[in-house]
Amino acid sequence: MRGHEAEIRAAGASLAAIGLGDRRYAAAFRDETGISFPLLVDEERRAYRAADLPSASVLHLVRKDNVRARSRARKAGHSQHRLGRNPLQLGGSFVFAPGDRDLHVHRSETFGDTAAVEDLLAALREAGGSGAPPIA
């Protein structure tokens, strides 16, 4: 996602990330990656629960799509850091707009399942007019 920050900002939106774990580890990640957008720490998973983000099963680790996703990530130079206390917690990507409108919702169904950036940008383009209708 961070590789698309410029496109997201050009579409008139801001970008923020929410992570698990503790602040010390989040600080190391921020410093290592040089991200400039807000990175928030949700040690108690309050936001994850509010967003209704599920946890995976350990059986997901051996799914073919996850094996392929890990291979792609390694080839792209990404390495997985410490997982923390909730290694099965899944993530998600959302586009929210003023007035607490949900413009796009993607909850990961398994580890390698991430939102297509094109879909996020499309949601932002649709919101660029007089305001897109909420989907939730």
Partner: protein, 42 residues
């Protein structure tokens, strides 16, 4: 607002790595925001 996910998230306050607390709703109060929930740092 209503039953939206953003409405449920809006009042939640979380710290950044420096300890500065941010209310989630402030992220999309004036313009849209892409919010990514990470599974891990990396």
């Amino acid at each position: 607002m209503g039953d939206s996910i953003s409405g449920a998230l809006a009042p939640i306050v979380l710290p950044d790595p420096d300890g500065t607390e941010i209310r989630l709703g402030s992220l999309w109060e004036t313009r849209p925001a892409v919010v990514a929930f990470l599974r891990h740092y990396g």
